[in-house]
Symmetry: C2
Subunit: 348 residues, 2 copies
């Protein structure tokens, strides 16, 4: 951060909303507090005119009423941007400068994707499913619509949705009205908004958002690994009260109830630990009951706050053995930085 | 901007949401796209426990049901942060680094304030009304709750509301649930969120947000003038498609329908002009019919887009003769920068 954030990055930060961390108190994030990353512009869609086309062995065309008439599934899912934590990386990576707030949890309702793909006809040669949004722009020098593909076996998962509701109401424009993809457990870019077209492909999609962007690599010559599932992360609600500009926290002496939430796209969270000394020592937090596989899991910890300066941290581990690192691992795109959060507090 | 934005400013930009400018297409801003400036933390309020106290010659105590049972008024109002445009000022002013997006228009419904003040009893010595929110933090070295006062005659205005609904639903937490003040035409800080207490004062309030902050002044020794009503501003929807990082726009050759919205807290907008050469020449835009005194006014302009680089601008003038300047006027707090927006486009 020593060199500061440029005007271009600030323009992105002004449009792409983070979730203020006190909103971790809500098990389901209220609309307007869920994070948003919008590559191009929010398209404004007339739902009466809009149709989704699905291209398999046959072509289907469905309006919003057709989708709403199908069997529906509702699930609570935590979604995080793959670039969350980017602005904490050194050397500095220029893109949307997220600190820690690119997350939220929604109650998403929609039509499961699998039966639709089966109706369209999945040929034996099907390898991937490509999702195309209505949002259009230029990135990496290429004019494009936002497009991402999923391996066919992932697209056929029982919990992959074409979502038309968030938190019990129609999708807001900024979350993809009238329809978006929802792949629980995967990073945010997977969940293509303003869906226009779904197509079964016989060979891997090589478009910009798949082949150039959202890959873990050290340099441009490396193909790298595609980003898929969310690494484990725990965030804590900064306790006490903030200073307006610095956001430094002041906490009264005595028992302080720390709380936060943790998630992982790989496996259920099995442990959250808390440190009050910047990660030198750790103690186990109490986990709330899980609220479904794809929702973040609440945790709490009674901290005996003694006068002085303290650095609070929390870290999550999932049942697959993935644990948050203390220090981030740098990569070219600034992705998947799930290093432990630190919250500086003064107890007085 | 040459020196860049610091980590502290970025922390603010990540929590305080701007309205992406394509959302100017909506006459009423969808929840989640309206700008947000939250000084401290969003308090989470249990509406069942919450009471508003009103202190005049008598003390009143009202729950949310009491307020909802009173005669209601609904109005559409544009709200802008007094710090909108701050990040464009030189020398750089350190605070929430708004570019241009700190605006939105809501359909606010609530109980008019005047009858409540009259029930509480306005003494002859009443000078101001003080509004105290539940949000608490440290600013300017002082621990405080967010507090702002209004001159009594303004507080007695017919359209000053205690708002409990936004766009037809309960206030979202981030907009002040369960109750906020709404003073149409005034800058955003006036509209105290998470209201806890209203008090009629016999002498001017001298708290931080009134005496130190939100004043137009050149240095700390000057008392300065308090910020009140919104200066006129017009914003245009950036046409064409954006480049992801730079947000530079590409527009096809031919007729391009420019559109935007304009507002002023002083008087109705009477004219909007458009320039395609960075302000060297101007032509008048067509105004949409007004949608009430306090809502922004739509405008449109057919631009004949010819190949090359262009700088699009729009500027508003109100019926009181206030007009947007081409260059901002610097002040210590970085307030009220209503200089004309510039949008760089490449036509090809």
């Amino acid at each position: 951060m020593s060199e500061g954030i440029s005007l271009e990055e600030l323009q992105l930060a002004a449009r792409n909303h983070g979730m203020p961390l006190e909103a971790l108190r809500f098990p389901v994030t209220p609309v307007g507090l869920h994070y948003l990353l919008i590559h191009y512009d929010v398209p404004i869609v007339d739902a009466g005119e809009w149709k989704l086309s699905v291209h398999g062995e046959r072509k289907l065309s469905l309006g919003l009423d057709d989708l709403r008439a199908r069997p529906a599934l509702e699930l609570t899912a935590t979604m995080e941007c793959a670039g969350n934590g980017r602005a904490r990386l050194e050397p500095h990576v220029i893109s949307q400068p997220w600190l820690l707030e690119a997350v939220g949890t929604g109650r998403w309702k929609g039509a499961p994707l699998r039966p639709l793909l089966e109706e369209a006809g999945v040929s034996d040669g099907g390898a991937e499913v490509l999702f195309t949004g209505l949002d259009r722009g230029i990135e990496g020098g290429e004019e494009q619509r936002f497009q991402r593909s999923l391996p066919l076996e992932e697209a056929l998962g029982d919990e992959v949705l074409l979502a038309y509701e968030l938190n019990g109401a129609s999708l807001p424009p900024q979350h993809g009205f009238p329809l978006r993809l929802l792949v629980p457990g995967w990073y945010g870019m997977t969940n293509v908004k303003w869906l226009d077209r779904i197509e079964i492909l016989e060979r891997p999609f090589e478009g910009y958002q798949q082949a150039q962007s959202y890959r873990l690599r050290q340099n441009e010559d490396e193909a790298g690994e595609p980003l898929q599932r969310m690494l484990p992360r725990s965030l804590l609600v900064p306790p006490g009260i903030p200073e307006f500009l610095t956001r430094e926290r002041t906490v009264p002496v005595g028992e302080c109830r720390l709380e936060g939430r943790a998630w992982s796209g790989f496996a259920p969270v099995e442990r959250v630990e808390v440190s009050a000394d910047g990660g030198a020592s750790w103690a186990e937090a109490e986990l709330d009951p899980p609220e479904g596989r794809w929702a973040w899991r609440g945790w709490r910890f009674r901290w005996d706050a003694q006068p002085g300066e303290h650095i609070l941290c929390s870290r999550a581990r999932d049942e697959a053995g993935n644990e948050q690192p203390l220090e981030p691992a740098w990569n070219l795109g600034g992705y998947a930085n799930n290093a432990v959060q630190t919250v500086r507090v003064t107890v007085s």
